[in-house]
Each structure stands twice: as C-alpha cells, then as structure tokens.
Subunit: 351 residues, 2 copies
DNA sequence: CTGAAAGCGCTAACAG
DNA sequence: CTGTTAGCGCTTTCAG
C-alpha cells in the first residue's frame, strides 16, 4: 500500500511513551517546532515556547536519549572500569567522576572487571557499543591484546595503574618515591632487617612499590634481604599469613613495610597473635593512610596518598579530552606525590 | 532532487563507524541478512553466517546499542542511585548489581545523589531518559514529590533505606531489632546510664535505630535518658564531638551505643582524648561491623549486618521484576536480621 | 518565525 | 534461505 493513516501503537512492546510528535499534534504544530522549542532555539517565539513547554509537562514527556544519541552520533555518557568498586582507591575515582558527570550533564556507566582480563575486555566492548564519549580505566595486570587495541580507539585516561602499552594520559601516584620515603625512614632509624609485604609485582602499582623498597636500600649502599619479601593478593588473609610466617622466623625482621591497607589489617592481627609489641618489638608502616590507622594504638606511621585530588584530576583530564577532542592528544602522565606521616608505630630497633 | 547516490559521510560528525550496511555491501548481501546472521538467526545458512561474521570482524564492526534500544523500545541498562559510593553500604550494592548486570548482559548506570533530594530528582530524570529497565535506589531522607512519582513509573527496588511513600519492593535490615539486641546486651550487663550517638531520625535507618534503642528500655520497663542521645551526620567529626561532650559530663554514661561505623571512628578517638579505658571505664558498641573493629584492642562488640547477602538479594529482586514485568507486582519487603558479635569492649559497669 | 522531508543504525513484518 | 520495506524518536538542512 502506498498511503495510510499513522498507526496507533508505536513499538513492539506497545509501550505508551509520549513523543515529540504527540506534543506537536496536541498543539497543531510540527514536531520540528516542538524539538526546537524544548532546546530553547532562538527562532521560536516566546509564546509558542511557553505553550510547548506546558504541554510537554502536562503530557509527561521524557526525551529519549537513545534516539538523540543516534542522531548526533555520540552519547552523553562516559565509562568507568575498575577492578573492585568496594576498594576505597576505586570508589574515590567513581565519586569524582560521578560528580563531574553530574555537572557536565553526562551519565556514568560503571563496569567492574574483578581484575579478570577477559571480563575487562567484555566490559570495554559493551562501553564501545554504548558509544561512550570516554573511559576512565584502572586496568588489570595483563590486559588482552584486544583490550589494548580497543582502548586505543577510545578517549581514555588511566588511573592509579598505568601501562605503557595503553595509549593516552594517566594519573598515578609516585609509588616508587612513596616506598622509598618510608623505607628510608626505617633504615635511618637503624633497622637492618626490614620485611616487605605487598601486592604482586605484575601490577604496575605492586611493581613500583617493590622497586621503591629496593631503591631505598640501594641509595644507602645496602641490599634488601629478598627472603623477607612477600607478594600476594590485597587481602587481610594474605597479610595475616605472610606476617605470621615472617614473625615466626628465628631471624625475624625488626621492621615491616606493608604496602597495602587491606594487607595491613591482617598484618596487625598477626602481630597480636605473636604477642609482638609495636614499636618496641617491631616497627610497622602502612602504604596508604586510613582513618583507623590514624587512631590506632599506637598510631600507625603511613604514607598518605592524595586520592581525592588524584581522582578529581583524572576525571577532569578525561573531560578535557572529551571536550577538545582533536587537540591535546599528548600523552600526559600526571604523577602525584605522597606524604609520609610519621607516627608512633616506628622507632629505633631494640638492639 | 528526487534521486541520488548514497552519501559518503553518515552523521554530522562525519564519524567513520562501520554499520551493518557496510558489511552488507562488502559482501553483496542485504543488511537484514547481516543483522540476522549476527544474531544467529536459524534461517541463515552456516556458510553465509561464517562469511558475515568474518567480514564483521575484519571491518571492525561494533553494534550500536542506541539504535538497537530505539527499535526495541527498551535498553539493556539498569540504574543505581546511592547517596555516596565511597560508603561500604552502598558500594556493596554497586558490586552486587554490577556482577548481576555482567551475567545478564546489562549495563549499569551509576548515579550519586550526595543525599541531596534535588540531585536525586535530576538523576532519576536522567535514568528515565536513558529508558533504564529498572532502578535500585537508596533514597534520600526527603525525596521530592516528583521523585516519588517518577519512581512509581519505573521498576524499582529500595535498598537499605525504605520509605512507604515509594512503591515497589525493598530490601532492608531490621534496624529496630539490631539496636534492641545490642542495647539489651548492655542493660543486662547492668548499665543504667547508656548513651546513644547516631544518624538523624529523618533517615529511615536513623529512625529505626533510635527506635530500637528506646524499645530495648521499654521491654525492660525502663526509660532511656533522652539527655544522653545525640543525632548528627555519619561522620567521624560528629562522632568525636558528640562523644567528647558526653564523656565530659559529670553524670557521664557508663556505656555508649554508636549507631554508625563512621561515627564510631570519631567516638573511639574521643575516648582516648578523655583517657577513658574500655571496657573498665566505658563499654562501647558499634552498629555495623568492620574488619578494623574486630582487630581493635579491645575487640569491639558490634552488630554485624549481612550486607553482601542483602545487596545480592536486592539486585536479584530487581532483575526478577525486570524479567517478569507483569507478574510479581507485589510490594515485597525483605528484611534481614543482624547478628550481635559480643567482644571485649563491653562488660559490667565499674562500681 | 515555522514546517516538510530526510535519515541516523537497527529490527521485524512480509514477501519471495 | 534471503531481500524489501517501513519505522523506532529525534535533529537538521532547506524552503517557505
């Protein structure tokens, strides 16, 4: 058939969504005019605009962002990919990005990779299908080839963990410097046998931290005892096991560097199991500060990371890239400094 | 002009996205066939499917989810609205929902209301524009009328905080019962002067907790001393100020119920400032357990909430509602029980 | 100042 | 087994 009256039900589900056209016919106007009025286009009379806005309100019109983004070719959406949203490091990123999205009229798609490269790849694929304007990513230790390739075609910013294979700017903390500071502090207190418990060196963060630990020794013309270094997942359980074992050795360390706050939880528990007094029997320090470390008895010496500043910087960098898409293709790498908070958990060794 | 060859650049931005049609022409097929092949439609020969899949891969085809969702009238997306993503209560919800979304092939839109009802309303509006299939919400204390009305038109599940004005199922913890348990524990230890520090009673959670505290007294034919109750925001600063002041009174309480873990941080700091020994000078309990409370010295008596179970239940409930849209319109209200963990921070009062 | 018409990429009738 | 056609709701030329 050539011609016919417009049909009643709109889409397969027969859902009764109010569209621009509905507003238009209710007012005897064209849907074009309605669209323009709602976008406050200058060539529409104030009178008409008022009428249209009122009708839109009355009919309960809700713009369809899918339709809009299909026309315009991009969506007002950004993606965030994190290994674990319950970790304070990544939830800080989520908060900053969410704040900025609110201010800029963007929506935030949250993807959790659970540190699984295959999952990460799937999530990025999904974000590409949603035509996100950009992605903030805390990548897994071993991203797949496809992940790296897809990220190259997206506007992305790396946060906390940064891999050279992934293009684009990054915002990280100087893990090497932070660990050097705190390790140097222990060396200068007179400690010889210093243990290290941290996350896997496959992670860019774990790598940097262990490197900082070693460099602090090197700078003093000393060598760290590799037998006192332990690597594992960022869990209290691992912290407990590793520290329990280290403290059980006959040549137990006189000081411990714990390179993750989650590991620190288990570590402290292990010191109690061995009935070790801090700092008289053992000095202990944490990488990344927390409220509870500050009020612990004794208060724990820790390296404080400017997490919120970093997250805000990463989010802003992403939006800069989104807004001035062509320019600033420079691969900026922003590095933040941490601050050593010396508290009562560290002192000179007993002798 | 009436007729013309197909144009080169597709959309305003001239972006070079590969579409179904591009695959079709590259193979001399129709775009319909391509669509069907990629959806593994049964009426397409294996041969053609293979060819098409290969071409799609080679050309770097990425399906456009906006176009798809426009056709089908719904998006494979759910929304999550939380006051604060850095709070463990809400990040637990985010994790569970993200997990389930991954399994079900949905995307997760994260919205942070910062406990501001106007922001909450804006966020819900944005989720409606995205045509989300459902929403998991931890509502603010005083949602706007529009918020309530819009939620009524969405498939929604309330988490942790539940308001009767908002329709739909909810997943909460029995705050009243939890506070009763822990308060009764203190009363039975012999405490007469018991203080309470918690979040505002305007929040459904704050209301329930304060109610539980009072009911524990009522059940014992006692009356709580209203002069020892303090309400404020869930911050360490408030906890510090409130507890510092309570401990400075001449008739200081012999026990304290701290109804939020954030408040607990400041509370413990305040006990140290007053040089109060736990539990000999003061018994103290926390509502909601944490790893650090468990390993504190002395270990802190706390009410443990089954957060992860609750979050998983809420996420599942939402997907049930999404999948069987018509049925199960019953307003289920799931309530979880908490568990009292008695530790060393509580004992009978001194005298 | 307003309208007509085209088309974004995709799916789903309905024909062959 | 494959193609034709129409249209989801919206923005955007181009013509009045």
């Amino acid at each position: 058939m050539i011609c016919g009256v417009p049909k009643k039900r709109r889409n397969p589900q027969g859902s009764q969504e109010v569209t621009l056209r509905d507003i238009a016919v209710s007012l005897g106007l064209s849907h074009t005019t309605v669209s323009r009025a709602l976008h406050d286009h200058p060539h529409i009379s104030q009178n008409t605009k008022a009428q249209i806005r009122q009708a839109a309100e009355k009919l309960g019109y809700v713009p369809n962002s899918a339709a809009r983004s299909m026309r315009s070719g991009h969506s007002q959406t950004v993606g965030l990919i994190v290994p674990d949203i319950e970790n304070e490091f990544y939830s800080a990123a989520a908060r900053s990005l969410a704040d900025l999205c609110g201010a800029e009229g963007f929506r935030l798609l949250l993807a959790v990779s659970r540190d699984d490269p295959r999952e990460e790849e799937r999530q990025i694929q999904a974000l590409r299908e949603a035509r996100v304007a950009g992605v903030l990513i805390c990548a897994t230790a071993k991203p797949t080839r496809d992940t790296i390739q897809m990220l190259g075609q997206l506007r992305s910013v790396q946060f906390l963990r940064a891999y050279a294979a992934i293009s684009g700017p990054s915002v990280t903390v100087d893990d090497v410097g932070g660990l050097m500071k705190v390790t140097t502090h222990l060396i200068e207190l007179g400690h010889k046998r210093i243990g290290y418990v941290g996350v896997s060196e496959e992670l860019s963060t774990g790598k940097g931290r262990a490197t900082g630990f070693r460099q602090a020794f090197k700078a003093k013309k000393l060598v760290p005892d590799a037998a006192l270094m332990r690597f594992g997942p960022a869990t209290p359980d691992f912290g407990h096991a590793a520290v329990y074992e280290l403290l059980g050795r006959t040549d137990r360390p006189s000081a411990l560097v714990i390179a993750s706050p989650r590991i620190m939880l288990g570590a402290l528990e292990a010191t109690e199991a061995h009935d070790v007094e801090i700092p008289s029997d053992l000095s202990i320090v944490s990488y990344s500060d927390s409220d509870w470390l500050r009020i612990w008895r004794p208060p724990i010496t820790a390296v404080a990371l400017p997490l919120n500043q970093m997250a805000a910087a990463a989010a802003e960098l992403l939006f800069q890239r989104i807004e001035h898409s062509t320019q600033s293709q420079t691969t900026e790498a922003l590095t933040f400094e941490s601050v050593l908070q010396v508290r009562a958990s560290t002192s000179s060794p007993a002798t």
